[in-house]
Amino acid sequence: MIKTVLVFVFAFVLLAGCNDADRKKQQFISLGRLVYQKQCANCHQDNGNGYEALYPPINQSDYFLANPLNSLCLIVNGAEEPMTVNGKEYNLPMPSFAHLKPDELAKLLTYLSNSWDNDGSFYSEEDVTKTLATCSNK
Protein backbone atom coordinates (compact mmCIF):
# COMPACT_ATOMS: atom_id res chain seq x y z
CA MET A 1 0.00 0.00 0.00
CA ILE A 2 2.75 2.41 1.02
CA LYS A 3 4.59 1.42 -2.14
CA THR A 4 1.61 2.26 -4.34
CA VAL A 5 1.20 5.63 -2.73
CA LEU A 6 4.88 6.34 -3.19
CA VAL A 7 4.73 5.45 -6.86
CA PHE A 8 1.86 7.87 -7.34
CA VAL A 9 3.60 10.64 -5.43
CA PHE A 10 6.76 10.07 -7.44
CA ALA A 11 4.86 10.13 -10.74
CA PHE A 12 3.09 13.32 -9.69
CA VAL A 13 6.35 15.02 -8.80
CA LEU A 14 7.82 13.93 -12.13
CA LEU A 15 4.87 15.24 -14.15
CA ALA A 16 4.71 18.48 -12.19
CA GLY A 17 8.39 18.89 -12.99
CA CYS A 18 7.59 19.27 -16.68
CA ASN A 19 6.55 22.79 -17.44
CA ASP A 20 3.89 23.58 -19.99
CA ALA A 21 6.40 24.43 -22.71
CA ASP A 22 8.12 21.06 -22.33
CA ARG A 23 4.83 19.26 -22.40
CA LYS A 24 3.70 21.08 -25.52
CA LYS A 25 7.00 20.30 -27.21
CA GLN A 26 6.70 16.61 -26.34
CA GLN A 27 3.16 16.62 -27.65
CA PHE A 28 4.26 18.25 -30.91
CA ILE A 29 7.08 15.74 -31.33
CA SER A 30 4.71 12.78 -30.89
CA LEU A 31 2.04 14.18 -33.20
CA GLY A 32 4.65 15.41 -35.68
CA ARG A 33 6.00 11.90 -35.95
CA LEU A 34 2.60 10.76 -37.23
CA VAL A 35 2.62 13.47 -39.90
CA TYR A 36 6.17 12.51 -40.89
CA GLN A 37 5.38 8.80 -41.11
CA LYS A 38 2.39 9.42 -43.30
CA GLN A 39 3.65 12.22 -45.56
CA CYS A 40 7.45 12.11 -45.66
CA ALA A 41 8.97 8.82 -44.55
CA ASN A 42 8.27 6.95 -47.80
CA CYS A 43 10.97 9.04 -49.46
CA HIS A 44 13.05 10.52 -46.65
CA GLN A 45 12.97 7.27 -44.62
CA ASP A 46 12.30 6.59 -40.94
CA ASN A 47 15.89 7.48 -40.07
CA GLY A 48 15.68 10.81 -41.91
CA ASN A 49 18.72 9.94 -44.00
CA GLY A 50 16.96 10.03 -47.38
CA TYR A 51 17.38 7.27 -49.94
CA GLU A 52 20.14 6.80 -52.51
CA ALA A 53 20.73 9.85 -54.68
CA LEU A 54 16.96 10.19 -55.11
CA TYR A 55 15.78 11.80 -51.87
CA PRO A 56 17.96 14.07 -49.71
CA PRO A 57 18.49 13.62 -45.96
CA ILE A 58 16.71 15.75 -43.36
CA ASN A 59 18.84 14.36 -40.53
CA GLN A 60 21.97 16.53 -40.19
CA SER A 61 21.01 18.29 -43.40
CA ASP A 62 22.79 21.62 -43.84
CA TYR A 63 19.87 22.80 -45.97
CA PHE A 64 17.32 22.08 -43.23
CA LEU A 65 19.40 23.15 -40.23
CA ALA A 66 20.43 26.48 -41.76
CA ASN A 67 16.86 27.64 -41.15
CA PRO A 68 14.16 25.03 -40.58
CA LEU A 69 11.42 27.60 -41.18
CA ASN A 70 12.68 28.02 -44.75
CA SER A 71 11.78 24.42 -45.41
CA LEU A 72 8.13 25.28 -44.85
CA CYS A 73 7.71 26.99 -48.20
CA LEU A 74 9.41 24.01 -49.81
CA ILE A 75 7.02 21.58 -48.13
CA VAL A 76 3.93 23.59 -49.00
CA ASN A 77 4.88 24.56 -52.57
CA GLY A 78 6.99 21.57 -53.54
CA ALA A 79 10.19 22.08 -55.53
CA GLU A 80 11.09 21.75 -59.19
CA GLU A 81 14.59 23.22 -59.08
CA PRO A 82 17.62 21.11 -58.14
CA MET A 83 18.96 21.68 -54.63
CA THR A 84 22.24 20.93 -52.90
CA VAL A 85 22.19 19.15 -49.55
CA ASN A 86 25.44 18.38 -47.72
CA GLY A 87 27.38 18.98 -50.91
CA LYS A 88 25.31 16.64 -53.08
CA GLU A 89 22.93 17.74 -55.78
CA TYR A 90 19.37 16.37 -55.80
CA ASN A 91 17.13 17.02 -58.79
CA LEU A 92 13.97 14.96 -58.43
CA PRO A 93 10.95 17.21 -58.01
CA MET A 94 9.38 17.29 -54.57
CA PRO A 95 5.58 17.24 -54.65
CA SER A 96 3.66 19.97 -52.89
CA PHE A 97 2.06 19.22 -49.52
CA ALA A 98 -0.30 22.18 -49.63
CA HIS A 99 -2.97 20.22 -47.81
CA LEU A 100 -1.02 20.28 -44.52
CA LYS A 101 -2.46 22.81 -42.08
CA PRO A 102 -0.33 25.23 -39.98
CA ASP A 103 -0.75 23.13 -36.82
CA GLU A 104 0.35 19.96 -38.65
CA LEU A 105 3.33 21.83 -40.11
CA ALA A 106 4.33 23.14 -36.66
CA LYS A 107 4.21 19.60 -35.26
CA LEU A 108 6.11 18.23 -38.24
CA LEU A 109 8.81 20.89 -38.02
CA THR A 110 9.18 20.37 -34.27
CA TYR A 111 9.44 16.61 -34.82
CA LEU A 112 12.09 17.07 -37.53
CA SER A 113 14.09 19.42 -35.33
CA ASN A 114 13.99 17.02 -32.40
CA SER A 115 14.71 13.82 -34.24
CA TRP A 116 17.91 11.99 -35.01
CA ASP A 117 20.81 14.40 -34.59
CA ASN A 118 18.98 17.63 -35.31
CA ASP A 119 19.03 20.68 -33.07
CA GLY A 120 15.99 20.37 -30.79
CA SER A 121 14.06 23.56 -31.55
CA PHE A 122 10.33 24.08 -31.01
CA TYR A 123 8.05 25.71 -33.58
CA SER A 124 4.61 27.03 -32.73
CA GLU A 125 1.63 27.37 -35.01
CA GLU A 126 2.20 31.15 -34.97
CA ASP A 127 5.82 30.73 -36.18
CA VAL A 128 4.50 28.64 -39.02
CA THR A 129 1.68 30.98 -39.98
CA LYS A 130 4.10 33.94 -40.04
CA THR A 131 6.53 32.13 -42.31
CA LEU A 132 3.84 30.78 -44.60
CA ALA A 133 2.75 34.37 -45.29
CA THR A 134 6.19 34.99 -46.77
CA CYS A 135 6.13 31.98 -49.13
CA SER A 136 5.31 32.99 -52.68
CA ASN A 137 2.35 30.98 -53.82
CA LYS A 138 2.93 29.12 -56.99
Binding site: E52, L54, Y55, H99
Partner: protein, 204 residues
Protein backbone atom coordinates in the same frame (compact mmCIF):
# COMPACT_ATOMS: atom_id res chain seq x y z
CA UNK B 1 -13.06 -47.83 -36.87
CA UNK B 2 -13.45 -44.50 -35.22
CA UNK B 3 -10.12 -45.04 -33.52
CA UNK B 4 -8.45 -46.04 -36.77
CA UNK B 5 -9.62 -42.83 -38.38
CA UNK B 6 -8.37 -40.81 -35.45
CA UNK B 7 -5.00 -42.46 -35.70
CA UNK B 8 -4.84 -41.97 -39.43
CA UNK B 9 -5.79 -38.31 -39.30
CA UNK B 10 -2.41 -37.06 -38.07
CA UNK B 11 -0.77 -39.28 -40.65
CA UNK B 12 -2.91 -37.73 -43.40
CA UNK B 13 -1.99 -34.31 -42.12
CA UNK B 14 1.68 -35.12 -42.29
CA UNK B 15 1.40 -36.49 -45.83
CA UNK B 16 -0.70 -33.50 -46.83
CA UNK B 17 1.70 -30.96 -45.37
CA UNK B 18 4.68 -32.81 -46.79
CA UNK B 19 3.14 -32.80 -50.25
CA UNK B 20 2.62 -29.07 -49.97
CA UNK B 21 6.18 -28.61 -48.96
CA UNK B 22 7.67 -30.75 -51.68
CA UNK B 23 5.08 -29.75 -54.26
CA UNK B 24 5.70 -26.08 -53.42
CA UNK B 25 7.90 -25.64 -56.46
CA UNK B 26 4.89 -25.35 -58.73
CA UNK B 27 3.71 -21.78 -58.90
CA UNK B 28 0.14 -21.09 -60.02
CA UNK B 29 -0.88 -19.83 -63.46
CA UNK B 30 -2.75 -16.59 -63.06
CA UNK B 31 -3.36 -15.07 -66.50
CA UNK B 32 -6.82 -13.67 -67.14
CA UNK B 33 -8.85 -16.37 -68.89
CA UNK B 34 -11.34 -15.92 -71.67
CA UNK B 35 -13.60 -18.34 -73.53
CA UNK B 36 -13.01 -18.79 -77.25
CA UNK B 37 -15.58 -21.13 -78.77
CA UNK B 38 -15.39 -24.30 -76.73
CA UNK B 39 -11.96 -23.50 -75.29
CA UNK B 40 -10.79 -21.48 -72.35
CA UNK B 41 -7.62 -19.64 -73.29
CA UNK B 42 -5.17 -17.59 -71.29
CA UNK B 43 -4.78 -13.94 -72.16
CA UNK B 44 -1.39 -13.48 -73.80
CA UNK B 45 0.66 -10.32 -73.59
CA UNK B 46 -0.44 -8.06 -76.45
CA UNK B 47 1.97 -6.41 -78.87
CA UNK B 48 3.34 -3.17 -77.47
CA UNK B 49 6.06 -0.65 -78.14
CA UNK B 50 7.55 1.39 -75.32
CA UNK B 51 10.83 3.31 -74.92
CA UNK B 52 13.28 2.65 -72.09
CA UNK B 53 15.51 5.02 -70.10
CA UNK B 54 18.24 4.72 -72.74
CA UNK B 55 15.88 5.67 -75.56
CA UNK B 56 15.75 2.09 -76.88
CA UNK B 57 12.56 0.41 -78.01
CA UNK B 58 11.16 -2.26 -75.71
CA UNK B 59 8.55 -4.56 -77.19
CA UNK B 60 7.24 -8.10 -76.95
CA UNK B 61 10.50 -9.42 -78.42
CA UNK B 62 12.49 -7.86 -75.58
CA UNK B 63 10.66 -10.14 -73.13
CA UNK B 64 11.39 -13.35 -75.01
CA UNK B 65 12.86 -15.97 -72.69
CA UNK B 66 12.88 -13.54 -69.74
CA UNK B 67 11.53 -14.18 -66.28
CA UNK B 68 10.44 -10.69 -65.33
CA UNK B 69 8.74 -8.56 -62.71
CA UNK B 70 6.40 -5.86 -64.01
CA UNK B 71 5.17 -2.88 -62.04
CA UNK B 72 3.54 0.51 -62.52
CA UNK B 73 4.90 3.67 -60.93
CA UNK B 74 5.70 7.33 -61.56
CA UNK B 75 8.80 9.32 -60.71
CA UNK B 76 7.17 12.11 -58.68
CA UNK B 77 5.02 9.68 -56.66
CA UNK B 78 5.17 10.55 -52.95
CA UNK B 79 3.24 7.54 -51.68
CA UNK B 80 3.97 3.88 -52.32
CA UNK B 81 6.43 4.05 -55.24
CA UNK B 82 9.53 4.92 -53.19
CA UNK B 83 8.81 1.94 -50.95
CA UNK B 84 8.28 -0.33 -53.97
CA UNK B 85 11.50 0.94 -55.57
CA UNK B 86 13.48 0.25 -52.41
CA UNK B 87 12.08 -3.29 -52.20
CA UNK B 88 12.55 -3.92 -55.91
CA UNK B 89 16.14 -2.83 -55.62
CA UNK B 90 16.72 -5.80 -53.29
CA UNK B 91 15.33 -8.05 -56.03
CA UNK B 92 17.59 -6.33 -58.58
CA UNK B 93 20.65 -6.76 -56.37
CA UNK B 94 19.89 -10.45 -56.05
CA UNK B 95 19.19 -11.31 -59.70
CA UNK B 96 20.51 -8.34 -61.72
CA UNK B 97 23.44 -10.36 -63.08
CA UNK B 98 21.22 -13.11 -64.49
CA UNK B 99 20.59 -12.38 -68.17
CA UNK B 100 17.25 -14.23 -68.04
CA UNK B 101 15.97 -11.79 -65.41
CA UNK B 102 14.37 -8.38 -65.91
CA UNK B 103 12.37 -5.76 -64.08
CA UNK B 104 9.94 -3.82 -66.28
CA UNK B 105 8.73 -0.64 -64.59
CA UNK B 106 6.05 1.23 -66.54
CA UNK B 107 5.46 4.89 -65.81
CA UNK B 108 1.78 5.78 -65.49
CA UNK B 109 2.68 9.47 -65.88
CA UNK B 110 4.32 9.52 -69.33
CA UNK B 111 3.57 13.24 -69.73
CA UNK B 112 6.20 14.02 -67.06
CA UNK B 113 8.29 10.88 -67.16
CA UNK B 114 10.23 11.32 -70.39
CA UNK B 115 13.24 9.21 -71.37
CA UNK B 116 15.54 11.78 -69.69
CA UNK B 117 13.51 11.78 -66.47
CA UNK B 118 13.55 7.98 -66.34
CA UNK B 119 17.29 7.92 -67.04
CA UNK B 120 17.95 10.35 -64.20
CA UNK B 121 15.75 8.29 -61.87
CA UNK B 122 17.48 4.99 -62.75
CA UNK B 123 20.94 6.52 -62.34
CA UNK B 124 20.04 8.00 -58.98
CA UNK B 125 18.50 4.76 -57.79
CA UNK B 126 21.76 3.13 -58.87
CA UNK B 127 20.32 0.64 -61.36
CA UNK B 128 20.64 0.11 -65.12
CA UNK B 129 19.20 -1.58 -68.20
CA UNK B 130 19.00 -4.30 -69.41
CA UNK B 131 18.24 -5.81 -65.98
CA UNK B 132 15.95 -2.96 -64.95
CA UNK B 133 13.96 -1.34 -67.72
CA UNK B 134 12.02 1.83 -67.03
CA UNK B 135 9.61 2.40 -69.87
CA UNK B 136 7.46 5.24 -71.12
CA UNK B 137 5.12 5.39 -74.10
CA UNK B 138 1.60 6.30 -75.11
CA UNK B 139 -0.49 6.67 -71.98
CA UNK B 140 -3.43 4.67 -73.35
CA UNK B 141 -1.18 1.82 -74.37
CA UNK B 142 0.46 1.66 -70.93
CA UNK B 143 -2.86 1.74 -69.07
CA UNK B 144 -4.41 -0.80 -71.45
CA UNK B 145 -1.63 -3.34 -70.99
CA UNK B 146 -1.89 -2.72 -67.23
CA UNK B 147 -5.59 -3.54 -67.16
CA UNK B 148 -5.77 -6.24 -69.81
CA UNK B 149 -2.69 -8.26 -69.07
CA UNK B 150 -1.14 -7.36 -65.72
CA UNK B 151 -4.42 -7.00 -63.79
CA UNK B 152 -3.17 -3.71 -62.37
CA UNK B 153 -5.23 -0.92 -60.81
CA UNK B 154 -4.34 2.49 -62.20
CA UNK B 155 -6.49 5.61 -61.89
CA UNK B 156 -5.95 9.32 -62.06
CA UNK B 157 -6.70 10.73 -58.67
CA UNK B 158 -6.58 14.31 -57.46
CA UNK B 159 -7.15 13.66 -53.77
CA UNK B 160 -4.80 15.16 -51.20
CA UNK B 161 -1.29 13.81 -51.06
CA UNK B 162 -1.74 11.20 -53.79
CA UNK B 163 0.58 12.88 -56.28
CA UNK B 164 -2.13 12.65 -58.94
CA UNK B 165 -2.56 8.92 -59.37
CA UNK B 166 -3.97 6.00 -57.50
CA UNK B 167 -2.46 2.64 -58.26
CA UNK B 168 -1.83 -0.74 -56.81
CA UNK B 169 1.63 -1.54 -55.54
CA UNK B 170 1.48 -4.88 -57.29
CA UNK B 171 4.60 -6.63 -58.54
CA UNK B 172 3.63 -9.07 -61.27
CA UNK B 173 5.86 -12.09 -61.85
CA UNK B 174 5.83 -13.38 -65.43
CA UNK B 175 7.66 -16.52 -66.56
CA UNK B 176 9.71 -17.05 -69.72
CA UNK B 177 6.58 -18.18 -71.60
CA UNK B 178 4.57 -15.08 -70.78
CA UNK B 179 2.51 -16.67 -68.02
CA UNK B 180 1.74 -14.71 -64.85
CA UNK B 181 2.95 -16.79 -61.90
CA UNK B 182 2.42 -14.48 -58.96
CA UNK B 183 1.29 -11.04 -57.82
CA UNK B 184 2.94 -9.50 -54.74
CA UNK B 185 2.47 -6.34 -52.73
CA UNK B 186 5.60 -4.32 -53.45
CA UNK B 187 5.24 -2.37 -50.20
CA UNK B 188 5.24 -5.52 -48.05
CA UNK B 189 8.68 -6.88 -47.21
CA UNK B 190 7.44 -10.41 -46.51
CA UNK B 191 5.73 -10.59 -49.89
CA UNK B 192 8.81 -9.27 -51.63
CA UNK B 193 10.73 -12.04 -49.85
CA UNK B 194 8.26 -14.51 -51.33
CA UNK B 195 8.81 -12.96 -54.77
CA UNK B 196 12.55 -13.48 -54.37
CA UNK B 197 12.10 -17.15 -53.51
CA UNK B 198 9.61 -17.66 -56.37
CA UNK B 199 12.07 -16.00 -58.76
CA UNK B 200 14.76 -18.44 -57.61
CA UNK B 201 12.46 -21.29 -58.65
CA UNK B 202 11.71 -19.86 -62.09
CA UNK B 203 15.31 -18.91 -62.78
CA UNK B 204 16.69 -22.31 -61.80
Amino acid sequence: MKFAFKALFPLFSIVFIASCKFGGNTLPYMNIERVEGADTVFNKIPDFSFTNQNGEEINKQSLKGKVYVADFFFVSCPTICPVMAKNLKKVYERFGNNDKFMILSHTIDPRHDSVEVLKNYANRLGVAAPAWQFVTGKKDEIYQIGYDFYMATIEEDDSEGSGGYLHSGGLILVDSKGRIRGVYDGTNEAQVGQLISDLSILLK
